[in-house]
């Protein structure tokens, strides 16, 4: 079931440069059962800014009915969001879309590859895979040391490597540079990040089954407006909607 309505902010703090971690509480959480889904957030009570903002679900706690998001202040909407205080409410619609399938085969080896604000949805996934006994190797890519977040949190679930473009923390370069250093390929991989990164990751692991989470500008967030389509590799005008068919797709689907 998709909920819409107010949720109360219980915790909110800056955890890296311009990156905020926000935890909210409410009934919406009961419907969140898949890592990699997202919510669509209205950051103001009036019509400016007008549209909702898609933000991934980072972790879910059914005991407290809380869930956590991590977002980067980018434009006007996320700026306004960052000014909210605990006790304030935000209008949340979700959970939306189809997340990562948790392939719960104990002892297989999975790679989790996240870039920038693509890192958050991998956190709940890491939790679940690790609970199922899947062995994880986690690669997180950022621009610079100031942008790094959740390195320690991921370490709980598996070997965690960080890359930074400017080399100021971890390996200098891209996530694919780190991947190239590993001797063995995984049984399965999961990735979320900018389009260019997803393509590079997909190319680097041609024969491995994988799941990739895509971004696209959205209108409705539920499949009605055709704003968020992506052509598929099938060609011939075939397409998928990121909001309702995705945001997670098996490797090889998106052109």
């Amino acid at each position: 079931m998709i909920h819409t309505g107010k949720m109360e902010i219980v915790r909110h703090k800056e955890i890296a440069r311009d990156v905020f971690e926000m935890t909210v509480i409410g009934q919406h959480t009961t419907a969140m059962n898949q890592p990699g889904q997202f919510v669509h957030i209205k950051v103001s009570g009036h019509h400016e800014p007008l549209l909702r903002r898609p933000i991934s679900i980072c972790s879910i706690d059914q005991d407290t009915l809380e869930f956590t998001m991590i977002y980067r202040v980018d434009g006007r909407g996320t700026k306004l969001l960052s000014e909210k205080r605990p006790g304030d409410t935000i209008d949340v619609m979700g959970p939306l879309g189809n997340g990562f399938p948790v392939v719960a085969t104990p002892d297989i080896h999975a790679w989790l590859i996240g870039g920038g604000i693509g890192v958050p949805p991998l956190y709940e996934l890491a939790k679940r895979l690790s609970e199922s006994g899947v062995k994880l190797t986690i690669v997180l890519g950022f621009q610079s040391a100031d942008d790094v977040f959740y390195e320690e949190q991921f370490r709980e679930f598996g070997e965690t490597y960080v890359t930074t473009v400017d080399g100021s923390h971890g390996l200098g370069g891209f996530v694919t540079d780190q991947m190239a250093l590993f001797e063995q390929k995984p049984a399965i991989y999961y990735s979320c990040g900018p389009h260019a990164m997803l393509h590079a990751v997909e190319k680097a692991l041609p024969d491995v089954p994988g799941y990739l989470s895509y971004e696209q500008r959205m209108g409705c967030g539920i499949g009605a407006c055709f704003a968020c389509v992506c052509p598929t590799t099938t060609g011939g005008g075939d397409y998928v909607k990121v909001c309702s068919d995705g945001p997670v797709f098996p490797a090889g689907v998106i052109a």
Binding site: I2, L50, C220, A227
Partner: protein
């Protein structure tokens, strides 16, 4: 008696609220949020003869109190709509207004002929105002004679009343309204989107892959009200009004300038429950204003 009921050619509306074309798909997504039979009608996504992929992405961009879209009439094509979408909608007791688009007169005629025969299609909405396609679309909506010609051709083949959707991107909307009335249109729907553009702040390039897009949302409401206010006294066919409607008061405003019913577009993206919410709040708002039916409100700005 139902204070919200209203009758338009082909349409026996239990209330004057319907989702606008292109903002509600073919209803399936919103059916997850509420029972579609609470709606006055549904304007389904523009249908063309063949399926269309539409424009490259990005297709939407936000602006002050508005948004731009350049979907480009993406739709699964006439055959699919007839076989899947319309039959699915039949389970809901709600009249459908089929939005018809094309690049040539023949395309419109072909779609209109067939789709108007579907059992739950009670009216057509001729989309002569889509700003997001290269040929056809808006071209038909900016010249009174071309608009009239198309209306006439479609009227000849349609089994249901034909509403013509006007473009606001014109010097004189009254001329076009009168021309399509003369050509046999049973009603008007107005307005479609205003042509606009947004740039990437850093690169200075248009955000939309299509460069320009159609502006909708609260930003355009003053323009929509003005155009309906201008057209209403000049035609005797009914008008379905739209452009920035967000709440019951906005509906009252559109009825006041002369609309007989309204469509809600962009607001569905912000609040998927906006249509049922408006339907619920409208009787209360009418009562507060001292009215007992929407009929009393229609055109009151002119009195």
């Amino acid at each position: 008696m139902n204070a919200l009921a209203t009758q338009l050619p082909g349409l026996n509306l239990r209330n004057p609220i319907m989702p606008a074309s292109g903002c509600f798909g073919f209803g399936q997504e919103y059916a997850k949020f509420y029972d579609l039979s609470v709606l006055g009608a549904i304007m389904i996504k523009a249908t063309t003869e063949e399926s269309r992929f539409g424009n490259p992405t990005p297709r939407v961009a936000e602006t002050s109190s508005g948004m731009l879209n350049a979907i480009g009439l993406q739709n699964p094509g006439l055959a699919h709509v007839l076989e899947h979408e319309l039959p699915w909608l039949e389970q809901h007791d709600v009249p459908i207004i089929a939005n018809v688009a094309g690049s040539e007169v023949e395309d419109y005629v072909a779609v209109a002929r067939e789709i108007s025969q579907a059992p739950n299609v009670h009216a057509l909405e001729l989309n002569i105002s889509c700003p997001n396609v290269k040929c056809g679309g808006i071209a038909f909506g900016t010249d009174p004679e071309i608009a009239a010609g198309l209306t006439r051709a479609v009227k000849e083949v349609s089994s249901v009343p034909v509403y013509v959707k006007l473009s606001p991107n014109v010097t004189n909307i009254v001329d076009i309204a009168k021309a399509v009335e003369q050509a046999g249109a049973d009603g008007l729907t107005m307005i479609n989107t205003l042509l606009g553009m947004r740039l990437h702040e850093k690169t200075g390039k248009p955000v939309l892959a299509n460069k320009t897009g159609g502006l909708s949302g609260p930003a355009i409401k003053p323009v929509a009200l003005r155009m309906i206010y201008e057209v209403y006294p000049q035609v005797s066919i009914p008008i379905i009004g739209m452009g920035g409607i967000q709440d019951a008061q906005d509906v009252i405003d559109f009825l006041s300038v002369g609309a007989s019913a309204v469509a809600v577009g962009t607001a569905n993206f912000v609040d998927p429950l906006v249509c049922p919410t408006i339907i619920e709040e409208l009787p209360e708002r009418l009562a507060e204003l001292g009215y007992t039916s929407i009929e009393e409100v229609i055109g009151r700005a002119h009195r």
